[in-house]
Symmetry: C2
Protein backbone atom coordinates (compact mmCIF):
# COMPACT_ATOMS: atom_id res chain seq x y z
CA UNK A 1 0.00 0.00 0.00
CA UNK A 2 1.13 3.51 -0.71
CA UNK A 3 1.71 5.13 2.65
CA UNK A 4 3.65 8.29 1.96
CA UNK A 5 4.17 10.76 4.76
CA UNK A 6 6.00 14.09 5.12
CA UNK A 7 9.68 13.88 6.02
CA UNK A 8 9.16 16.23 8.92
CA UNK A 9 6.24 18.02 10.53
CA UNK A 10 5.94 21.32 12.36
CA UNK A 11 3.67 21.60 15.36
CA UNK A 12 2.59 25.02 16.61
CA UNK A 13 1.94 24.91 20.35
CA UNK A 14 -1.34 26.76 20.94
CA UNK A 15 -1.94 25.91 24.59
CA UNK A 16 -1.12 29.42 25.87
CA UNK A 17 -3.81 30.85 23.57
CA UNK A 18 -6.46 28.32 22.55
CA UNK A 19 -5.83 26.29 25.68
CA UNK A 20 -5.83 29.02 28.28
CA UNK A 21 -8.75 30.93 26.76
CA UNK A 22 -10.96 27.93 27.49
CA UNK A 23 -10.09 28.05 31.20
CA UNK A 24 -12.77 29.93 33.09
CA UNK A 25 -10.82 30.90 36.17
CA UNK A 26 -8.14 33.50 35.52
CA UNK A 27 -4.67 31.96 35.45
CA UNK A 28 -2.36 34.50 37.13
CA UNK A 29 0.14 35.99 34.69
CA UNK A 30 3.07 34.39 36.53
CA UNK A 31 1.35 30.99 36.14
CA UNK A 32 0.86 31.55 32.42
CA UNK A 33 4.49 32.57 32.11
CA UNK A 34 5.73 29.55 34.06
CA UNK A 35 3.81 27.17 31.78
CA UNK A 36 4.88 29.09 28.66
CA UNK A 37 8.53 28.85 29.75
CA UNK A 38 8.21 25.15 30.46
CA UNK A 39 6.56 24.55 27.07
CA UNK A 40 9.26 26.62 25.38
CA UNK A 41 11.78 24.12 26.75
CA UNK A 42 10.16 21.10 25.09
CA UNK A 43 11.69 21.65 21.66
CA UNK A 44 8.72 23.42 20.11
CA UNK A 45 9.69 25.93 17.39
CA UNK A 46 6.51 28.02 17.18
CA UNK A 47 4.09 29.02 19.88
CA UNK A 48 0.80 30.90 19.90
CA UNK A 49 1.43 32.79 23.11
CA UNK A 50 -1.71 34.87 23.64
CA UNK A 51 -4.64 36.67 22.06
CA UNK A 52 -4.99 40.44 21.77
CA UNK A 53 -8.71 40.27 22.22
CA UNK A 54 -10.99 42.52 24.24
CA UNK A 55 -10.72 41.57 27.94
CA UNK A 56 -14.49 41.94 28.05
CA UNK A 57 -14.89 39.15 25.49
CA UNK A 58 -12.21 36.89 26.99
CA UNK A 59 -11.01 38.06 30.42
CA UNK A 60 -8.41 35.27 30.49
CA UNK A 61 -6.41 37.11 27.81
CA UNK A 62 -6.34 40.49 29.60
CA UNK A 63 -2.59 40.12 30.23
CA UNK A 64 -1.64 39.65 26.56
CA UNK A 65 0.87 42.52 26.58
CA UNK A 66 2.58 41.28 29.77
CA UNK A 67 2.84 37.72 28.49
CA UNK A 68 4.28 38.99 25.21
CA UNK A 69 6.80 41.21 26.99
CA UNK A 70 8.01 38.24 29.01
CA UNK A 71 8.21 36.05 25.91
CA UNK A 72 10.19 38.65 24.01
CA UNK A 73 12.67 39.11 26.85
CA UNK A 74 13.31 35.41 27.15
CA UNK A 75 12.49 33.60 23.91
CA UNK A 76 12.39 35.99 20.97
CA UNK A 77 14.75 34.83 18.25
CA UNK A 78 14.68 31.28 19.59
CA UNK A 79 10.99 30.47 19.25
CA UNK A 80 8.63 31.99 16.72
CA UNK A 81 5.78 33.81 18.45
CA UNK A 82 2.22 34.04 17.21
CA UNK A 83 -0.61 36.08 18.72
CA UNK A 84 -4.24 35.87 17.79
CA UNK A 85 -5.75 39.18 16.68
CA UNK A 86 -9.52 39.22 16.20
CA UNK A 87 -9.59 42.69 14.67
CA UNK A 88 -7.60 45.82 13.75
CA UNK A 89 -7.50 46.99 17.31
CA UNK A 90 -5.99 43.68 18.43
CA UNK A 91 -3.45 43.90 15.61
CA UNK A 92 -2.39 47.37 16.74
CA UNK A 93 -1.84 46.04 20.25
CA UNK A 94 0.05 42.98 19.00
CA UNK A 95 2.29 45.12 16.81
CA UNK A 96 2.98 47.45 19.71
CA UNK A 97 3.85 44.49 21.95
CA UNK A 98 5.98 42.90 19.22
CA UNK A 99 5.24 39.43 17.84
CA UNK A 100 6.65 37.47 14.91
CA UNK A 101 3.26 36.49 13.52
CA UNK A 102 -0.30 37.71 13.96
CA UNK A 103 -3.11 35.18 13.53
CA UNK A 104 -6.35 36.64 12.16
CA UNK A 105 -9.54 34.57 12.14
CA UNK A 106 -12.28 34.52 9.53
CA UNK A 107 -14.88 31.76 9.39
CA UNK A 108 -15.66 30.03 6.13
CA UNK A 109 -19.21 29.67 7.39
CA UNK A 110 -21.11 32.94 7.30
CA UNK A 111 -23.24 31.96 10.30
CA UNK A 112 -20.23 31.19 12.45
CA UNK A 113 -18.38 34.33 11.39
CA UNK A 114 -21.34 36.42 12.47
CA UNK A 115 -21.63 34.62 15.81
CA UNK A 116 -17.90 34.75 16.47
CA UNK A 117 -17.07 38.28 15.30
CA UNK A 118 -20.41 40.03 14.64
CA UNK A 119 -19.24 40.67 11.12
CA UNK A 120 -20.15 39.36 7.70
CA UNK A 121 -17.35 37.56 5.89
CA UNK A 122 -16.99 40.62 3.62
CA UNK A 123 -16.57 42.89 6.62
CA UNK A 124 -13.97 40.53 8.09
CA UNK A 125 -12.02 40.58 4.85
CA UNK A 126 -12.12 44.37 4.85
CA UNK A 127 -10.74 44.29 8.41
CA UNK A 128 -8.06 41.81 7.34
CA UNK A 129 -6.99 44.17 4.56
CA UNK A 130 -6.54 46.92 7.11
CA UNK A 131 -4.36 44.63 9.24
CA UNK A 132 -2.35 43.75 6.12
CA UNK A 133 -1.77 47.42 5.41
CA UNK A 134 -0.49 47.89 8.93
CA UNK A 135 1.63 44.78 9.47
CA UNK A 136 4.98 45.95 8.06
CA UNK A 137 7.64 43.28 8.70
CA UNK A 138 5.38 41.29 11.02
CA UNK A 139 3.91 38.24 9.37
CA UNK A 140 0.21 37.55 9.21
CA UNK A 141 -1.50 34.18 9.24
CA UNK A 142 -5.14 33.64 8.42
CA UNK A 143 -6.98 30.95 10.34
CA UNK A 144 -10.07 29.89 8.43
CA UNK A 145 -12.44 28.86 11.21
CA UNK A 146 -15.14 26.27 10.42
CA UNK A 147 -13.29 25.15 7.30
CA UNK A 148 -15.06 21.80 7.41
CA UNK A 149 -17.98 21.90 9.81
CA UNK A 150 -20.04 24.70 11.33
CA UNK A 151 -22.05 24.41 14.56
CA UNK A 152 -24.89 26.29 12.88
CA UNK A 153 -24.75 25.38 9.19
CA UNK A 154 -23.38 21.80 9.32
CA UNK A 155 -20.95 20.68 6.62
CA UNK A 156 -19.12 23.61 5.05
CA UNK A 157 -18.59 23.22 1.30
CA UNK A 158 -15.00 23.74 0.05
CA UNK A 159 -16.12 26.70 -2.09
CA UNK A 160 -16.71 28.71 1.07
CA UNK A 161 -13.16 27.99 2.22
CA UNK A 162 -11.76 28.86 -1.19
CA UNK A 163 -13.59 32.16 -1.17
CA UNK A 164 -11.99 33.27 2.11
CA UNK A 165 -8.56 31.90 1.19
CA UNK A 166 -8.64 33.57 -2.23
CA UNK A 167 -9.41 37.02 -0.92
CA UNK A 168 -6.98 36.69 1.97
CA UNK A 169 -4.10 35.62 -0.23
CA UNK A 170 -4.90 38.56 -2.50
CA UNK A 171 -4.84 40.79 0.55
CA UNK A 172 -1.33 39.57 1.35
CA UNK A 173 -1.46 37.05 4.18
CA UNK A 174 1.74 35.05 4.69
CA UNK A 175 0.18 31.77 5.76
CA UNK A 176 -3.18 30.03 6.00
CA UNK A 177 -4.49 27.53 8.55
CA UNK A 178 -7.62 25.48 7.91
CA UNK A 179 -9.48 24.89 11.17
CA UNK A 180 -11.84 22.15 12.24
CA UNK A 181 -13.12 24.53 14.85
CA UNK A 182 -15.73 22.29 16.42
CA UNK A 183 -13.78 19.07 15.98
CA UNK A 184 -16.51 17.07 14.31
CA UNK A 185 -15.31 16.63 10.76
CA UNK A 186 -14.35 13.20 9.48
CA UNK A 187 -11.30 12.11 7.47
CA UNK A 188 -13.21 11.65 4.22
CA UNK A 189 -14.77 15.09 4.33
CA UNK A 190 -11.44 16.65 5.30
CA UNK A 191 -9.68 14.80 2.46
CA UNK A 192 -12.26 16.07 0.00
CA UNK A 193 -11.71 19.70 1.00
CA UNK A 194 -7.92 19.27 1.03
CA UNK A 195 -8.07 17.71 -2.44
CA UNK A 196 -9.95 20.79 -3.59
CA UNK A 197 -7.28 23.02 -2.04
CA UNK A 198 -4.51 21.04 -3.71
CA UNK A 199 -6.28 21.37 -7.06
CA UNK A 200 -6.48 25.13 -6.68
CA UNK A 201 -3.35 26.02 -4.76
CA UNK A 202 -0.89 23.26 -5.67
CA UNK A 203 1.50 22.57 -2.82
CA UNK A 204 0.67 25.72 -0.84
CA UNK A 205 1.58 24.73 2.74
CA UNK A 206 -1.78 25.02 4.47
CA UNK A 207 -1.59 24.29 8.19
CA UNK A 208 -4.32 22.34 9.97
CA UNK A 209 -5.96 23.14 13.30
CA UNK A 210 -7.85 20.08 14.50
CA UNK A 211 -10.04 19.90 17.57
CA UNK A 212 -10.75 16.47 19.00
CA UNK A 213 -14.41 16.72 20.01
CA UNK A 214 -15.38 13.46 18.33
CA UNK A 215 -11.97 11.80 18.72
CA UNK A 216 -11.05 12.07 15.04
CA UNK A 217 -8.23 14.63 15.32
CA UNK A 218 -5.43 12.09 14.90
CA UNK A 219 -7.27 10.31 12.08
CA UNK A 220 -7.69 13.69 10.41
CA UNK A 221 -4.05 14.58 11.04
CA UNK A 222 -3.00 11.29 9.49
CA UNK A 223 -5.21 11.91 6.48
CA UNK A 224 -3.66 15.35 5.95
CA UNK A 225 -0.15 13.95 6.41
CA UNK A 226 -0.79 11.27 3.80
CA UNK A 227 -1.67 14.11 1.42
CA UNK A 228 1.62 15.84 2.22
CA UNK A 229 0.46 18.48 4.69
CA UNK A 230 3.02 18.98 7.42
CA UNK A 231 2.00 21.89 9.70
CA UNK A 232 -0.36 21.35 12.60
CA UNK A 233 -1.62 23.29 15.60
CA UNK A 234 -1.82 21.36 18.87
CA UNK A 235 -2.22 22.15 22.56
CA UNK A 236 -0.22 20.56 25.37
CA UNK A 237 -2.53 18.51 27.57
CA UNK A 238 -5.30 18.70 24.97
CA UNK A 239 -6.53 22.01 26.34
CA UNK A 240 -8.82 24.19 24.32
CA UNK A 241 -12.36 24.50 23.17
CA UNK A 242 -14.56 27.48 23.59
CA UNK A 243 -15.05 29.65 26.65
CA UNK A 244 -18.70 29.89 25.67
CA UNK A 245 -19.25 26.17 25.03
CA UNK A 246 -18.43 24.09 28.10
CA UNK A 247 -18.22 20.45 27.15
CA UNK A 248 -16.79 21.14 23.73
CA UNK A 249 -13.52 19.28 23.61
CA UNK A 250 -10.11 20.79 23.12
CA UNK A 251 -7.38 20.52 20.55
CA UNK A 252 -5.60 17.32 19.84
CA UNK A 253 -2.95 17.07 22.54
CA UNK A 254 0.53 18.02 21.37
CA UNK A 255 1.95 14.91 23.01
CA UNK A 256 -0.51 12.60 21.23
CA UNK A 257 0.16 14.22 17.85
CA UNK A 258 3.92 14.21 18.36
CA UNK A 259 3.83 10.61 19.54
CA UNK A 260 1.95 9.42 16.45
CA UNK A 261 4.35 11.26 14.17
CA UNK A 262 7.50 10.11 15.96
CA UNK A 263 6.25 6.51 16.09
CA UNK A 264 5.93 6.68 12.31
CA UNK A 265 9.51 7.93 12.06
CA UNK A 266 8.63 11.57 11.44
CA UNK A 267 10.66 14.03 13.52
CA UNK A 268 8.79 16.80 15.34
CA UNK A 269 11.64 18.28 17.39
CA UNK A 270 9.55 17.75 20.53
CA UNK A 271 10.96 16.03 23.61
CA UNK A 272 7.87 14.01 24.54
CA UNK A 273 8.89 12.90 28.07
CA UNK A 274 9.75 16.53 28.87
CA UNK A 275 6.42 17.67 27.46
CA UNK A 276 4.58 15.05 29.54
CA UNK A 277 6.28 16.42 32.67
CA UNK A 278 4.98 19.89 31.77
CA UNK A 279 1.47 18.52 31.24
CA UNK A 280 1.59 16.80 34.63
CA UNK A 281 2.62 20.06 36.27
CA UNK A 282 -0.14 21.98 34.47
CA UNK A 283 -2.48 19.65 36.33
CA UNK A 284 -0.75 19.34 39.69
CA UNK A 285 0.69 22.85 40.09
CA UNK A 286 -1.93 24.92 38.29
CA UNK A 287 -5.08 22.82 38.64
CA UNK A 288 -5.72 22.79 34.92
CA UNK A 289 -7.90 20.01 33.56
CA UNK A 290 -5.75 18.31 30.96
CA UNK A 291 -6.63 15.48 28.71
CA UNK A 292 -4.33 13.46 26.56
CA UNK A 293 -4.10 9.77 25.89
CA UNK A 294 -0.36 9.71 26.36
CA UNK A 295 -0.53 11.41 29.75
CA UNK A 296 -2.86 8.81 31.20
CA UNK A 297 -1.32 5.83 29.46
CA UNK A 298 0.33 3.12 31.40
CA UNK A 299 2.17 0.05 30.28
CA UNK A 300 0.15 -3.08 30.52
CA UNK A 301 -1.38 -5.94 28.72
CA UNK A 302 -4.71 -7.66 28.56
CA UNK A 303 -6.28 -10.74 27.12
CA UNK A 304 -6.61 -9.62 23.55
CA UNK B 1 -6.82 11.60 -3.79
CA UNK B 2 -7.80 7.99 -3.67
CA UNK B 3 -9.93 7.54 -0.60
CA UNK B 4 -11.61 4.18 -0.98
CA UNK B 5 -13.52 2.75 1.93
CA UNK B 6 -15.57 -0.40 2.54
CA UNK B 7 -19.25 -0.20 1.60
CA UNK B 8 -20.25 -1.40 5.03
CA UNK B 9 -18.49 -2.31 8.25
CA UNK B 10 -19.31 -4.78 11.00
CA UNK B 11 -18.63 -3.85 14.60
CA UNK B 12 -18.50 -6.55 17.25
CA UNK B 13 -19.57 -5.14 20.62
CA UNK B 14 -17.04 -6.44 23.17
CA UNK B 15 -18.06 -4.35 26.20
CA UNK B 16 -19.65 -7.29 28.07
CA UNK B 17 -16.34 -9.18 27.84
CA UNK B 18 -13.32 -6.94 27.30
CA UNK B 19 -15.09 -4.02 28.96
CA UNK B 20 -16.47 -5.74 32.03
CA UNK B 21 -13.35 -7.80 32.69
CA UNK B 22 -11.45 -4.56 33.29
CA UNK B 23 -13.88 -3.50 36.02
CA UNK B 24 -12.47 -4.45 39.42
CA UNK B 25 -15.66 -4.48 41.44
CA UNK B 26 -17.99 -7.36 40.58
CA UNK B 27 -20.92 -6.20 38.47
CA UNK B 28 -23.93 -8.21 39.68
CA UNK B 29 -25.19 -10.63 37.04
CA UNK B 30 -28.49 -8.75 36.74
CA UNK B 31 -26.52 -5.57 36.05
CA UNK B 32 -24.47 -7.28 33.35
CA UNK B 33 -27.67 -8.63 31.83
CA UNK B 34 -29.39 -5.25 31.90
CA UNK B 35 -26.48 -3.62 30.05
CA UNK B 36 -26.20 -6.54 27.63
CA UNK B 37 -29.93 -6.25 26.85
CA UNK B 38 -29.65 -2.51 26.34
CA UNK B 39 -26.64 -2.93 24.05
CA UNK B 40 -28.46 -5.66 22.15
CA UNK B 41 -31.12 -3.07 21.32
CA UNK B 42 -28.70 -0.65 19.65
CA UNK B 43 -28.57 -2.44 16.31
CA UNK B 44 -25.39 -4.38 16.92
CA UNK B 45 -25.26 -7.72 15.06
CA UNK B 46 -22.49 -9.51 17.01
CA UNK B 47 -21.61 -9.35 20.68
CA UNK B 48 -18.83 -10.85 22.75
CA UNK B 49 -20.97 -11.60 25.76
CA UNK B 50 -18.56 -13.12 28.30
CA UNK B 51 -15.39 -15.10 28.87
CA UNK B 52 -15.26 -18.71 30.05
CA UNK B 53 -12.12 -18.10 32.03
CA UNK B 54 -11.17 -19.36 35.47
CA UNK B 55 -12.96 -17.24 38.11
CA UNK B 56 -9.67 -17.23 40.00
CA UNK B 57 -7.96 -15.45 37.11
CA UNK B 58 -10.83 -13.04 36.41
CA UNK B 59 -13.54 -13.10 39.12
CA UNK B 60 -15.67 -10.68 37.11
CA UNK B 61 -16.40 -13.45 34.60
CA UNK B 62 -17.54 -16.02 37.18
CA UNK B 63 -21.13 -15.78 35.91
CA UNK B 64 -20.30 -16.64 32.29
CA UNK B 65 -22.78 -19.52 32.15
CA UNK B 66 -25.63 -17.46 33.63
CA UNK B 67 -25.01 -14.55 31.28
CA UNK B 68 -24.93 -16.94 28.33
CA UNK B 69 -28.15 -18.64 29.43
CA UNK B 70 -29.89 -15.27 29.58
CA UNK B 71 -28.52 -14.28 26.20
CA UNK B 72 -29.66 -17.51 24.61
CA UNK B 73 -33.16 -17.19 26.03
CA UNK B 74 -33.56 -13.65 24.77
CA UNK B 75 -31.26 -12.99 21.83
CA UNK B 76 -30.06 -16.21 20.21
CA UNK B 77 -30.87 -16.21 16.52
CA UNK B 78 -31.12 -12.41 16.51
CA UNK B 79 -27.61 -11.47 17.56
CA UNK B 80 -24.49 -13.55 17.00
CA UNK B 81 -22.88 -14.46 20.32
CA UNK B 82 -19.17 -14.80 20.94
CA UNK B 83 -17.45 -15.98 24.12
CA UNK B 84 -13.78 -15.79 24.87
CA UNK B 85 -12.22 -19.15 25.73
CA UNK B 86 -8.64 -19.03 26.99
CA UNK B 87 -8.18 -22.81 26.94
CA UNK B 88 -9.80 -26.21 26.33
CA UNK B 89 -11.57 -26.14 29.65
CA UNK B 90 -13.13 -22.78 28.81
CA UNK B 91 -14.17 -24.13 25.42
CA UNK B 92 -15.91 -27.09 27.05
CA UNK B 93 -17.85 -24.71 29.28
CA UNK B 94 -18.72 -22.43 26.38
CA UNK B 95 -19.94 -25.33 24.26
CA UNK B 96 -22.01 -26.61 27.17
CA UNK B 97 -23.55 -23.16 27.66
CA UNK B 98 -24.12 -22.74 23.91
CA UNK B 99 -22.58 -19.88 21.92
CA UNK B 100 -22.38 -19.14 18.21
CA UNK B 101 -18.65 -18.42 18.23
CA UNK B 102 -15.76 -19.12 20.57
CA UNK B 103 -12.87 -16.67 20.60
CA UNK B 104 -9.49 -18.22 21.39
CA UNK B 105 -6.47 -16.03 22.09
CA UNK B 106 -2.85 -16.63 21.12
CA UNK B 107 -0.25 -13.87 21.24
CA UNK B 108 2.04 -13.28 18.29
CA UNK B 109 4.68 -12.22 20.79
CA UNK B 110 6.15 -15.17 22.66
CA UNK B 111 6.80 -13.09 25.77
CA UNK B 112 3.21 -11.89 25.96
CA UNK B 113 1.78 -15.33 25.30
CA UNK B 114 3.78 -16.70 28.21
CA UNK B 115 2.72 -13.86 30.51
CA UNK B 116 -0.92 -14.07 29.46
CA UNK B 117 -1.42 -17.84 29.29
CA UNK B 118 1.72 -19.42 30.81
CA UNK B 119 2.17 -21.30 27.59
CA UNK B 120 4.60 -21.15 24.71
CA UNK B 121 3.04 -20.28 21.35
CA UNK B 122 3.49 -23.93 20.32
CA UNK B 123 1.61 -25.09 23.40
CA UNK B 124 -1.18 -22.60 22.68
CA UNK B 125 -1.48 -23.88 19.14
CA UNK B 126 -1.72 -27.44 20.44
CA UNK B 127 -4.51 -26.30 22.77
CA UNK B 128 -6.23 -24.54 19.86
CA UNK B 129 -6.15 -27.78 17.87
CA UNK B 130 -7.91 -29.57 20.72
CA UNK B 131 -10.59 -26.87 20.75
CA UNK B 132 -10.94 -27.24 16.97
CA UNK B 133 -11.44 -30.96 17.36
CA UNK B 134 -14.19 -30.33 19.88
CA UNK B 135 -16.06 -27.42 18.35
CA UNK B 136 -18.52 -29.25 16.09
CA UNK B 137 -20.97 -26.76 14.57
CA UNK B 138 -19.83 -23.94 16.81
CA UNK B 139 -17.54 -21.49 15.06
CA UNK B 140 -14.11 -20.61 16.33
CA UNK B 141 -12.33 -17.30 15.99
CA UNK B 142 -8.66 -16.77 16.72
CA UNK B 143 -7.66 -13.43 18.26
CA UNK B 144 -3.97 -12.84 17.67
CA UNK B 145 -2.99 -10.74 20.69
CA UNK B 146 -0.02 -8.36 20.37
CA UNK B 147 -0.21 -8.50 16.57
CA UNK B 148 1.60 -5.16 16.34
CA UNK B 149 3.14 -4.22 19.68
CA UNK B 150 4.07 -6.17 22.78
CA UNK B 151 4.47 -4.65 26.26
CA UNK B 152 7.60 -6.75 26.75
CA UNK B 153 9.18 -7.14 23.32
CA UNK B 154 8.19 -3.86 21.62
CA UNK B 155 7.30 -3.92 17.94
CA UNK B 156 6.11 -7.33 16.79
CA UNK B 157 7.33 -8.26 13.30
CA UNK B 158 4.64 -9.45 10.85
CA UNK B 159 6.37 -12.86 10.54
CA UNK B 160 5.32 -13.65 14.10
CA UNK B 161 1.70 -12.87 13.24
CA UNK B 162 1.88 -14.93 10.07
CA UNK B 163 3.24 -17.90 12.00
CA UNK B 164 0.27 -17.96 14.39
CA UNK B 165 -2.28 -17.24 11.66
CA UNK B 166 -0.82 -19.96 9.41
CA UNK B 167 -0.99 -22.69 12.00
CA UNK B 168 -4.41 -21.62 13.22
CA UNK B 169 -5.93 -21.57 9.75
CA UNK B 170 -4.45 -25.03 9.20
CA UNK B 171 -6.02 -26.11 12.47
CA UNK B 172 -9.41 -25.00 11.15
CA UNK B 173 -10.36 -21.66 12.73
CA UNK B 174 -13.27 -19.88 11.06
CA UNK B 175 -12.09 -16.31 11.55
CA UNK B 176 -9.04 -14.34 12.65
CA UNK B 177 -8.81 -11.02 14.52
CA UNK B 178 -5.56 -9.07 14.68
CA UNK B 179 -5.30 -7.27 18.02
CA UNK B 180 -3.45 -4.14 19.05
CA UNK B 181 -3.65 -5.43 22.58
CA UNK B 182 -1.83 -2.58 24.30
CA UNK B 183 -3.11 0.16 22.00
CA UNK B 184 0.22 1.70 21.15
CA UNK B 185 0.75 0.83 17.51
CA UNK B 186 0.73 3.53 14.87
CA UNK B 187 -1.00 3.64 11.49
CA UNK B 188 2.17 3.15 9.48
CA UNK B 189 3.25 0.07 11.42
CA UNK B 190 -0.29 -1.32 11.26
CA UNK B 191 -0.45 -0.69 7.50
CA UNK B 192 2.85 -2.49 7.02
CA UNK B 193 1.60 -5.60 8.82
CA UNK B 194 -1.74 -5.50 7.04
CA UNK B 195 0.05 -5.18 3.69
CA UNK B 196 1.98 -8.32 4.58
CA UNK B 197 -1.27 -10.10 5.44
CA UNK B 198 -2.85 -9.01 2.15
CA UNK B 199 0.19 -10.30 0.26
CA UNK B 200 -0.11 -13.70 1.92
CA UNK B 201 -3.82 -14.14 2.44
CA UNK B 202 -5.41 -12.06 -0.32
CA UNK B 203 -8.75 -10.65 0.76
CA UNK B 204 -9.14 -12.88 3.83
CA UNK B 205 -11.44 -10.84 6.07
CA UNK B 206 -9.22 -10.26 9.09
CA UNK B 207 -10.98 -8.33 11.86
CA UNK B 208 -9.17 -5.67 13.89
CA UNK B 209 -9.25 -5.20 17.66
CA UNK B 210 -7.84 -1.77 18.48
CA UNK B 211 -7.24 -0.41 21.94
CA UNK B 212 -6.96 3.35 22.31
CA UNK B 213 -4.16 3.75 24.85
CA UNK B 214 -2.29 6.32 22.80
CA UNK B 215 -5.35 7.74 21.05
CA UNK B 216 -4.58 6.20 17.67
CA UNK B 217 -7.42 3.65 17.51
CA UNK B 218 -9.54 5.67 15.08
CA UNK B 219 -6.50 6.55 12.95
CA UNK B 220 -5.66 2.84 12.87
CA UNK B 221 -9.25 1.92 12.08
CA UNK B 222 -9.25 4.43 9.22
CA UNK B 223 -5.99 3.01 7.91
CA UNK B 224 -7.42 -0.52 7.92
CA UNK B 225 -10.65 0.66 6.28
CA UNK B 226 -8.70 2.36 3.51
CA UNK B 227 -7.09 -1.03 2.87
CA UNK B 228 -10.53 -2.65 2.65
CA UNK B 229 -10.79 -4.23 6.09
CA UNK B 230 -14.33 -3.99 7.40
CA UNK B 231 -14.64 -5.86 10.72
CA UNK B 232 -13.78 -4.22 14.00
CA UNK B 233 -14.14 -4.93 17.70
CA UNK B 234 -15.26 -2.00 19.87
CA UNK B 235 -16.61 -1.47 23.37
CA UNK B 236 -19.50 0.78 24.31
CA UNK B 237 -18.25 3.63 26.47
CA UNK B 238 -14.64 2.81 25.61
CA UNK B 239 -14.43 0.25 28.40
CA UNK B 240 -11.66 -2.28 28.46
CA UNK B 241 -8.03 -2.66 29.19
CA UNK B 242 -6.48 -5.17 31.48
CA UNK B 243 -7.57 -6.16 34.96
CA UNK B 244 -3.88 -6.41 35.84
CA UNK B 245 -2.82 -3.09 34.34
CA UNK B 246 -4.78 -0.18 35.84
CA UNK B 247 -4.24 2.91 33.75
CA UNK B 248 -4.04 1.02 30.48
CA UNK B 249 -6.76 2.48 28.30
CA UNK B 250 -9.70 0.61 26.88
CA UNK B 251 -10.98 -0.21 23.46
CA UNK B 252 -11.98 2.41 21.01
CA UNK B 253 -15.52 3.34 21.99
CA UNK B 254 -18.18 1.77 19.79
CA UNK B 255 -19.94 5.12 19.50
CA UNK B 256 -16.77 6.91 18.33
CA UNK B 257 -15.99 4.21 15.76
CA UNK B 258 -19.57 4.07 14.52
CA UNK B 259 -19.74 7.86 14.34
CA UNK B 260 -16.60 8.10 12.20
CA UNK B 261 -17.88 5.42 9.87
CA UNK B 262 -21.38 6.85 9.58
CA UNK B 263 -20.04 10.38 9.03
CA UNK B 264 -18.09 8.97 6.09
CA UNK B 265 -21.28 7.42 4.72
CA UNK B 266 -20.53 3.85 5.80
CA UNK B 267 -23.45 2.08 7.45
CA UNK B 268 -22.81 0.24 10.72
CA UNK B 269 -26.37 -0.69 11.65
CA UNK B 270 -25.86 1.02 15.00
CA UNK B 271 -28.34 3.55 16.38
CA UNK B 272 -25.83 6.01 17.83
CA UNK B 273 -28.22 8.15 19.96
CA UNK B 274 -29.63 4.95 21.46
CA UNK B 275 -26.12 3.67 22.14
CA UNK B 276 -25.19 6.96 23.81
CA UNK B 277 -28.19 6.59 26.11
CA UNK B 278 -26.92 3.13 27.11
CA UNK B 279 -23.45 4.53 27.77
CA UNK B 280 -24.92 7.26 29.96
CA UNK B 281 -26.82 4.67 31.95
CA UNK B 282 -23.71 2.49 32.32
CA UNK B 283 -22.27 5.48 34.12
CA UNK B 284 -25.28 6.76 36.05
CA UNK B 285 -27.02 3.48 36.91
CA UNK B 286 -24.04 1.16 37.27
CA UNK B 287 -21.21 3.48 38.27
CA UNK B 288 -18.99 2.32 35.44
CA UNK B 289 -16.22 4.65 34.34
CA UNK B 290 -16.86 5.20 30.66
CA UNK B 291 -14.85 7.17 28.23
CA UNK B 292 -15.80 8.16 24.75
CA UNK B 293 -15.40 11.40 22.87
CA UNK B 294 -18.96 11.32 21.58
CA UNK B 295 -20.43 10.86 25.04
CA UNK B 296 -18.77 13.98 26.43
CA UNK B 297 -19.15 16.08 23.29
CA UNK B 298 -21.32 19.11 23.24
CA UNK B 299 -22.24 21.47 20.46
CA UNK B 300 -20.29 24.66 20.52
CA UNK B 301 -17.88 26.87 18.77
CA UNK B 302 -14.69 28.70 19.56
CA UNK B 303 -12.37 31.21 18.03
CA UNK B 304 -10.59 29.02 15.54
Amino acid sequence: MSFSLPERIEIMEVCPRDGFQSVKEFIPTEGKIAILDALAGTGISTMEITSFVSPKAIPQMADAADVTAHFNAKWRGKITSVALVPNLRGAESALAAGVDWMNFVISASVDHNMANTRRTVEESIEELKKVCALKGETKLRLSVATSFACPFAGDVPPEKVVRVVEESLDAGVDGVTLCDTIGTTDPKYLANTLTEMRARYGDYPFALHLHDTHGMALANMLTAMRMGFSSFDAAAGGLGGCPFAPGAAGNAATEDMANMAERMGIPTGIDIPKLLAVVRSMKSDFGLTTYSHLAVADKGCCNS
